[in-house]
């Protein structure tokens, strides 16, 4: 028999206040970093004219990609009718909005002229995928906001929830296509220029977003003393395993395709073999920590420790995801442009050479501030709104399909 789902706000305990204070401190540090960089210019960051997008972009893109994926649980409930996910759907929507807000904050505050943000919203060149993304991102707030509203409004017909949920599902696919295309459409750089980046970003979003969701919901439930059924976590963990495997698959196809094309062979040699830090980041960070170990944990677990395995795998997938995005964003820029393919460059202004980059403290502070902002928004949401059910029992799992 299914439990009746009762949604209640999370109580404000001293621990919750303490956490809010810690998050506030991170956001304040990001604010200071912003003022420091704005006052002195980007000269005080690790970025330069070769690596023009640095660590803030890695954080921003990770959070934006995860935002789309955090909506998985809600989409699975509303669009694909998995009833056991329904009680978590509100939190899924809230978390995706919070992730997008955190990611966009970092992206916008790292602009050379963040004071001109209004200009970016009013003066658009629609040939630019960046301009499209401005509308995809703000539209996501509107569509997912509406989805959250229809889920929480009294007496809303299930048909309406499904329709709005479907709109949100389609929108998030478009959003991540747009984010992947920022890189995929850069035809001049050997590290990008690949249509597969758009679907790969969608699969990455499924994986990173679900991992973030699992950690966030587990933390909130632990903090508030509420109960989550082990089978719910286990089933979402299996889904996470499928997504993590799919990320590895897309990664393999991307690199194999590049290896087949002689023009991209040098870039592949750089990333896969000779790139030093970037090579380690790929094999150890992305493939081993973010792929192979989580897959092992998620599919080869012993009874009784499932939850721990799923949560450990989620942490590893997030670390591997950061490594992957670092490799794409920074690695793709570090490899030199091939302006003179028939020649070797003897000297020029960094032409033909691998570019250097080491992130500075203000960049790290800005990035972590984005993560803190995400958590603070999500935390505020569950404190003031009826987002989370009193318990997430395994009894909601369809008895005819006990094991996903």
């Amino acid at each position: 028999m299914m439990d009746r789902t009762i949604y209640r706000e999370i109580k404000l305990t001293p621990v919750v206040w303490l956490l809010a204070g810690v998050l506030g401190a991170f956001i304040a540090a990001a604010g200071l970093a912003l003022l420091y960089v704005e006052h002195n210019g980007h000269i005080v960051t690790g970025m330069n004219n070769q690596i023009v997008w640095g660590l803030p972009h890695v954080f921003a893109i990770f959070l934006i990609v995860a935002a789309s994926g955090a909506l998985n649980v809600a989409s699975i409930a509303s669009v694909f009718g998995k009833i056991e996910n329904k009680p978590m759907a509100r939190f899924s929507g809230l978390l995706s909005l919070a992730l997008l807000a955190g990611g966009l904050a970092v992206l916008v505050l790292d602009l050379g002229r963040p004071d001109r943000l209004l200009l970016a919203m009013t003066k658009n060149n629609f040939k630019s995928i960046f301009a499209w993304n401005i509308y995809l991102y703000s539209g996501f707030f509107a569509v997912v906001g509406a989805y959250l509203y229809v889920q929480m409004a009294r007496g809303m017909a299930p048909k309406v929830i499904k329709q709005v949920g479907t709109a949100a599902f389609i929108w998030r696919l478009a959003l991540t296509t747009g984010t992947g295309s920022i890189f995929g459409w850069l035809v001049a750089r050997p590290g990008y220029d690949a249509a597969i980046l758009a679907p790969m970003f969608i699969v990455m979003s499924f994986s990173f977003g679900l991992a973030f969701f699992l950690l966030a919901i587990s933390a909130v439930y632990r903090l508030s003393g509420r109960y989550i059924g082990p089978n719910l976590i286990k089933r979402l963990g299996r889904l996470l395993g499928i997504f993590a495997g799919a990320v590895l698959y897309f990664t393999a196809v991307r690199h194999l395709t590049n290896l087949y094309a002689a023009e991209h062979a040098d870039f592949e040699r750089f990333i896969l073999f000779s790139g030093g830090f970037f090579t380690q980041l790929f094999w150890i960070g992305q493939v081993l920590i973010g792929g192979v170990i989580p897959l092992f944990l998620l599919f080869h677990h012993t009874d009784g420790s499932n939850r721990k395995h799923v949560l450990t795998a989620s942490v590893l997938i997030i670390l591997g995801g950061m490594a992957q995005i670092y490799g794409i964003v920074i690695g793709g820029q570090a490899f030199p442009l091939e302006i003179f393919p028939a020649y070797t460059v003897n000297n020029g202004s960094f032409d033909g050479a691998i570019a250097n980059y080491s992130a500075s403290l203000p960049e790290l502070a800005l990035g972590l501030g984005g993560v803190a902002l995400t958590l603070l928004i999500a935390g505020l949401g569950v404190v003031v709104l009826r987002i989370l059910p009193l318990n997430l029992s395994d009894r909601n799992i369809d008895p005819s399909k006990p094991d996903f």
């Binding site: 704005e38 002195n40 210019g41 980007h42 000269i43 330069n48 004219n49 070769q50 023009v52 997008w53 602009l111 050379g112 002229r113 963040p114 001109r116 943000l117 200009l119 970016a120 003066k123 658009n124 060149n125 040939k127 630019s128 995928i129 960046f130 301009a131 401005i134 920022i182 459409w185 850069l186 035809v187 001049a188 750089r189 820029q333 442009l337 302006i339 003179f340 028939a342 020649y343 070797t344 460059v345 003897n346 000297n347 020029g348 202004s349 960094f350 032409d351 250097n356």
Partner: protein, 252 residues
């Protein structure tokens, strides 16, 4: 009755500004820095002086360019006010010299690299605000008042031709506005071209006696540059991307 009078005065001033600025050939946006100093920012229809019938371009004869000569770079720096501050990774570099050795033949060449003023510029395509734009006469510019400093154009440029201003700048030239947090690149000395002159780099190259750089209207079949292009083979860099650069190199 003070308010209407003030309004009229402001209106009159803007009328003067508008007239002045179209006469000056260019920028829609102007900023008064202090009395007597005005920065033009290549804004909006800055193409006021651009002749759609022309396409300005350069032809660089690599055989005439000497490895030990840096005259074009120095001239550009002097003309446009960007300089070496001792931080090569972050310093602006509107034009740079590149020395190359052919992988198969071992032939050594030297050449200047700058914005290639593409017919299909990727920087213009990707710019979210339209700050990167191409004038009707083919010169690719950045509107310093519309650039938000996102650096996407730098990611998209196949030639690493653009620089991000990493720190506050002082003593700017009024004809070459610069701004911390915005992107900039070679303007083909648009301020000189609009007055019938040629870019500072071309002039300096000619003064050294090397004569490796030629400037002119690619659309005019009678121009010196068109005649030279007709006579000798030349390439555009990254011709595979089909951007049709306005800068062409011969003997490369």
């Amino acid at each position: 009755m003070k308010l209407p009078a003030l309004k009229t005065a402001v209106k009159d001033l803007s009328e003067i500004d508008r007239r002045e600025f179209f006469k000056a050939g260019g920028a829609v946006a102007t900023v008064a820095l202090s009395s007597g100093v005005t920065l033009m920012a290549f804004g909006g229809a800055a193409s006021a002086n651009a002749d759609a019938g022309k396409r300005w371009g350069l032809l660089i004869d690599v055989n005439k360019c000497k490895s030990d000569c840096n005259a074009c770079v120095t001239a550009c720096s002097d003309e446009n006010g960007w300089e070496d501050t001792g931080n090569p990774e972050t310093d602006a570099q509107w034009i740079r010299k590149v020395d190359l050795t052919h992988k198969q033949t071992g032939r050594e060449v030297s050449l200047p690299m700058m914005c290639q003023h593409c017919e299909q510029p990727p920087c213009v395509d990707v710019c979210p605000t339209g700050a990167s734009f191409k004038r009707a006469d083919g010169i690719v510019l950045v509107d310093k008042h519309a650039c938000i400093g996102c650096r996407y154009c730098m990611m998209a440029c196949p030639f690493k031709a653009r620089s991000f201003v990493h720190e506050p700048v002082e003593n700017q030239k009024s004809h070459a506005p610069r701004g911390n947090g915005t992107v900039e690149s070679c303007t083909l000395c648009v301020h000189r071209v609009d007055k019938g002159g040629s870019p500072a780099c071309v002039e300096a190259c000619s003064e050294t006696g090397h004569g490796a750089m030629m400037f002119g209207d690619l659309n005019d079949p009678a121009s010196e540059i068109s005649q030279a292009l007709k006579q000798y083979s030349s390439i555009g860099l990254r011709d595979d991307l089909r951007l049709n650069p306005g800068v062409r190199y011969s003997n490369l």
